[in-house]
């Protein structure tokens, strides 16, 4: 077995320009700024507005063997996407080096380059070419792709008329039939339905096992990671926290945010939760069946409005429930945190470890500003004032259902 990917001291630096305007510098600004700096030099004035450095990745090193399936996990803003972009040669690193052995295909988004006006058939060819397949290869696999996507009847319909499910199936079908030596996959499965996700995971497993292909996989779906990957890399704020077997990596990831207090500014999001806490009635500790308060403070970079969803997930990444004030929009102003307090009358969770995730966006996932499934880890403690099966099997029982009873 030979090394397929080796990454040495990789770093990626971005310059955060503190300017009044948004986005790119314009030609006009550059010209006036140039004139101004000449003026300053003549008058001996001082320089202002030096850009701030931000390291999205720093000193990242790891190796991947041929045929290995490596999972990359980390919270939002940990540098996962940046790492994938460098590995797929979309952007260049600021420091360090990457050696790749073989052809790389990256799937950072479902349906990259799909054109709504073109038919399914036309898009298969276009998307295939964009992902690096040759026309001969595409012709050979065309029927297989169509069958995998289950869209035979709509092959000659423009994809703008497709349902979102069909769209995703078609897009993934093309990608699943890529046969590169190295396949890089970002959070793309999240959009499909569960059954199709399963099918895709199976396909990836098959590709990697039978043909000794290397797979790099990023996901928030811990089950999918556990199912597909043999090894994992945990990223935290641009640095590698752990490289090891997948179950160890998952444990480390879930542990990485015990008591997450106020967080640093997230340079990649417009708004983010700056503080997440959960308080039980009993001096802060959270016990089964107790009333609890979940408090989330949301910060933003600009004036905007957002909906908020708070989810509670178990250690395996299963969602247990959402706290989602469906009709509420938080009105955010820059640098002015807004606090949302959710009250739960009786916490219906068995003792164990859980995580709180925060989602910010517009309802129906039209727009997603922020999503981190692991903002805060908390423990539910025992409480002998309520009736529950205290020597239960912690792997299987999660939900506590309050009840009353009578005998006779």
């Amino acid at each position: 077995m030979s090394t397929s990917i080796s990454v040495h001291n990789l770093g990626k630096k971005y310059l955060l320009q503190h300017r009044t305007g948004q986005g790119q510098p314009t030609l006009r600004e550059t010209l006036t700024e140039g004139m101004r700096s000449i003026g300053r030099r003549l008058t001996g004035g001082e320089h202002t507005g030096a850009p701030e450095e931000f390291w999205a990745l720093r000193d990242v090193s790891f190796e991947v063997q041929q045929g290995e399936r490596l999972g990359i996990i980390g919270r939002n803003g940990a540098g996962k996407s940046t790492l994938l972009k460098i590995l797929s040669r979309i952007t260049e690193p600021s420091t360090g080096s990457v050696q790749l052995r073989g052809r790389v295909a990256s799937l950072l988004e479902v349906g990259t380059g799909f054109h709504p006006e073109l038919t399914g058939r036309e898009n298969i060819y276009l998307n295939g070419a964009i992902l690096g397949m040759s026309r001969a290869e595409l012709k050979k696999k065309f029927d297989e792709i169509v069958a995998f996507a289950e869209i035979e009847r709509f092959l000659d319909t423009p994809v703008k008329r497709y349902s979102s499910g069909m769209y995703v199936r078609l897009a993934f079908a093309v990608a699943a039939h890529l046969e590169p030596e190295i396949l890089v996959v970002d959070e793309v499965l999240a959009v499909g339905d569960a059954q199709f996700q399963e099918k895709c995971l199976g396909k990836m497993q098959e590709i990697s096992a039978r043909q000794q292909r290397t797979i790099l996989f990023v996901s928030h779906n811990i089950q999918a990671l556990a199912q597909l990957c043999d090894r994992g890399v945990v990223l935290d704020r641009g640095e590698v926290r752990l490289t090891g077997p997948m179950d160890q990596a998952i444990e480390c990831y879930l542990d990485s945010s015990v008591g997450a207090g106020p967080d640093a500014v997230r340079p990649d999001a417009d708004c983010w939760p700056s503080r997440v806490t959960i308080l039980g009635s009993n001096g802060g500790a959270v016990r089964i069946g107790d009333p609890v308060e979940v408090v989330v403070e949301v910060c933003s970079r600009r004036g905007m409005s957002t909906q908020i969803g708070i989810e509670v997930i178990d250690q395996l990444g299963h969602n247990l429930f959402w706290l989602y004030p469906q009709r509420e929009y938080l009105q955010l102003k820059p640098n002015c945190p807004v606090k949302l307090t959710c009250r739960v009358d009786a916490l219906n969770l068995y003792p164990g470890s859980y995580s709180i995730g925060v989602w910010l966006g517009q309802g129906g996932r039209i727009e997603e500003y922020f999503w981190d499934r692991n903002c805060l880890r908390f423990d539910v403690l025992h409480n002998h004032e309520v009736d529950y099966f205290y020597n239960f099997n912690p792997q299987s029982t999660k939900v506590y259902q309050p009840f009353s009873y009578s005998i006779g």
């Binding site: 790119q24 314009t26 797929s88 952007t91 988004e109 380059g113 006006e117 040759s134």
Partner: protein, 263 residues
């Protein structure tokens, strides 16, 4: 990444280059009901206006050739150049979603946008043939040099596009500069008139606009001896085209590594 590697990649991705062009052609003629008609009407109307204004009103010379034929022969490369430039300079920004999601040599994008314009160019060629038949004009043996001047037009368009599309990614307001330059160029290039009206002593200087060389070349090749080409001038134009092209490639390659972060 080595330079040799880059050119090898460019060759490997040649199918993507064709697919992108094919997509744009397909979309263009699917979306606009007057898709093809538009590429016919625009140069025809321009020809009409120039013939009336420069030929009939200003009574500029056309060296014995029907004025519309003279104008349209120049419009052929000019329209190609102008369209390739406007579309080429926006091509990277328009394909931003591709640039941030997949790797391929970025030069494919402006190149394929120029390829798309070849369809319009071909249509224009057919129309010119029609106009020539209408006026009973037959090109002579010079016409064999036509592909050479067409190549020059192609290289000029590609060279300038490389500069413009890279600048467009870097400076977002550059897109407002391009239409102005294109419009300005139409009037300083000998499209509506013959370059013979430029005084002799300024002639070589006039060829510093590379499109002068291209347009005069087209007229010389297609309309024959009535349009003498200035050898020194043509050399100056060709030299400039190559300078712009090579400079463009170097500039583009240097900017390329930051495209995905900027766009």
């Amino acid at each position: 990444m080595g330079a040799a590697h880059y050119w090898r990649d460019l060759w490997r991705y040649r199918e993507l280059f064709l697919f992108l062009a094919w997509r744009d052609i397909l979309v263009r003629y699917k979306q606009t009901a007057i898709g093809i008609a538009w590429s016919v009407i625009r140069p025809l109307l321009t020809m009409l206006v120039f013939t009336v204004v420069f030929g009939k009103l200003a009574k500029l010379p056309s060296n014995g050739i029907p004025y519309p034929v003279m104008v349209y022969t120049a419009l052929l490369p000019w329209q190609f150049f102008a369209n390739a430039l406007s579309e080429g300079s926006n091509s990277l920004v328009d394909n931003a979603n591709l640039l941030t999601k997949v790797y391929f040599p970025r030069m494919i994008v402006p190149a394929s946008s120029i390829l798309v314009n070849l369809v319009d160019f071909a249509i224009s060629c057919v129309i010119l043939a029609g106009i020539m038949i209408w006026y009973g004009f037959t090109p002579d043996g010079h016409a064999i040099l036509f592909p050479l001047f067409f190549l020059l037009a192609l290289l000029a368009s590609f060279g300038v596009s490389l500069w413009f599309c890279a600048l467009n990614v870097r400076y977002r307001d550059f897109r407002y500069v391009v239409p102005f330059l294109v419009q300005f160029g139409l009037f300083v290039s000998p499209v509506g008139f013959s370059s013979a009206i430029v005084p002799e002593q300024w002639r070589v200087l006039y060829y510093l606009n590379p499109m002068v060389g291209v347009i005069d070349g087209f007229r010389w090749a297609l309309l024959g001896p009535a349009f003498k080409i200035n050898g020194a001038g043509l050399f100056v134009s060709a030299l400039l085209v190559f300078a712009v092209l090579i400079g463009g490639i170097v500039f583009f390659r240097r900017m390329e590594r930051s495209f995905a972060d900027l766009v």
